[in-house]
Each structure stands twice: as C-alpha cells, then as structure tokens.
C-alpha cells in the first residue's frame, strides 16, 4: 500500500492562523488542519452523513459539528449525537523541519 504525502503549510502559518482548511486535489478531499495542545490534527470537512461542512466548534473538547444537520463528532471522529454508525475521516499529520504535512494510505 502506498502513501500519499501532502504539504499543508508552514508551521508558523498554522501557529498564527490556528487552523487551515483547504481542498487538496491530490487527496480529493477538503481538510482542516489545526494545532491544539502541541498536537496536530487533520480531519475531512466532508460529513459522512450527506457531505455537509464539518468544523471545529469546541476548542477544549475538540468536538466537530456539521453545519447542515448538526451531527457532532468526537476528537477521534466518532459520531456523538446519533445512533448512525458514521465516522469522520482523520489524516495523519506531522511536522518535518518548518513544514506541516498530512499523509494517507491510498
């Protein structure tokens, strides 16, 4: 299995903006990357329910919520307010030098 590695931004940029949301053509997904308590997280903004826009709504618990239907997802991507078995995609995120990258197994 091969991995795809994508450069997100400069580390300083992410520190300044706190989060960066962008559509990646190579990944064919829209991803938000954020830095919290020294850890980097990247998640797909595409809600697995119907494709709505998911964003971070709680800085402390790192809960994400879909704008269209209010579905909420935990820090790890598990759905919180529904019995439906849906999960938000997360991407491995890391820093090399002064750049932030995400990687994904194709």
């Amino acid at each position: 299995m091969s991995s795809i590695i994508i450069e997100v931004c400069d580390l300083d940029d992410l520190k300044k903006k706190k989060s960066i949301t962008r559509y990646y053509e190579d990944l064919k997904d829209e991803v938000t990357t954020y830095l919290k308590y020294g850890a980097f997280t990247s998640f797909s903004t595409v809600c697995p329910h119907m494709g709505g826009y998911v964003s971070l709504v709680d800085d402390v618990s790192e809960i994400k919520r879909c704008k269209w239907h209010g579905r909420e997802f935990s820090k790890g991507g598990e759905v919180l307010n529904s019995k439906a078995k849906i999960c938000l995609t997360h991407y491995e995120t890391y820093v090399r030098g002064d750049k932030v990258f995400i990687s994904y197994d194709r």
Partner: protein
Amino acid sequence: MTDNILKIKIEKTLPSVSPEINVWNIFDSEHPPYMHGKRRTGEGMEASTILYENKEMNISLDTQKFPLFGFLKYRTVMCHVAFPDNSVTQYSSFFGVPTLQKYSAIKVDEKNTKFTIETFFYLTGLWRFLRRPIRFYVERWLSNTWEEDLEMKLRRDKFIKLGFRDMIGLPKNIDDRNSKNIQSFKLPLIRITNDGDSHPFSIRNQKKLFSDDF
C-alpha cells in the same frame, strides 16, 4: 379564477450542477432548522417532521417562525411530490391560504443548470387585498432560502461527483474518488434523526390511534 391567483417566479442558473440536487435539497427534511432557522430578521424554518414518505412523495409537519417576532411560530402541513424530470411540487398553506410551489431543475447545456421556483397563492376574500405584502414577503423568503441552500447544492454536487455516498462518505481509496461511482438517487432519503417517528400522526404510530383501545 385567475384573478384570485398570485404568481411569484424566480429563476437561477448554476454551473453544471446535477438537476437531482434539486430533489435532494427539498426532500432533505433535516437541514431546515440548521440552514434556514437563523435569519437576522427572525423568520425562518424551525423543524420539519416527516409524517409519511415513499419513493416519490412525503407529507411533513413544518414549523416556521414569524419575521421580526421569531418566538411566534406557526405550523403547516406540506406535501412534496417528486417527478422523474427532477421537479418537485409542493402543496401547502400560508395562514389558511392554499399554496402550490413547483421547483424545477433542467440542464440548459453542458455547463449550466437552470433552477426555477414558481409559487402560486389562491387568494380569496380579504386576502386579495394583501397581494403586495405577500409578494414582498415571499420574494424575500425565497431569495433567502435560495442563498442558504446554494452552498449545500454546490458542495453536495462536488462531492457526489467524487464518489461520496450517504452514511459512508468519500471512498477510502483515493483512486476511487471520481465520477465513475456516482450513487444512484433514491427516495426516501436516509434520515438519522427520529423526530417524525415520535409524532402521534407519523405512519409508524398510526396503528395505536386506529386501534379499538385508543
């Protein structure tokens, strides 16, 4: 009879959006409180409870908020019927005034899809003198609703064309994120809230009402 009818029509063109999005948007009963319920002027949609649905229609009980006095609400029964040409007809009432709406979407060429919303009010008695305020209110309502739905239509269309599937998401394999595996459109849509099922008039609960024990 035509003197009693007030017609309001709006037309919009979007770049290369699938006409099926029109049907999906109207039959998605779970988005109104989130996408149409937070207008600055107070009015908007609060909830849409499905009472009955099948492969081509649904009947819902909708709660809407008054302009300026958002705490005042009114309820109306709505019936949506989908047609094979991706149009939807909506039967409803506006404070007792019968209304008919038709939402159409057609591909005008390879690059453009035209969306048309036609609304008809059957005005009798004193309602006939309220044509102007009704037109003003409804044109504003339709315009706000269109704007709020626009990002949904464009985003949904974009990801459906990348192989997105409801309740699953984008394909795990990036190579499968393409337009070869577009999900087939089917009604009724999958719902993940059960508000409608708890209503006593919901098709699932009617047995209790019609039983001799009730």
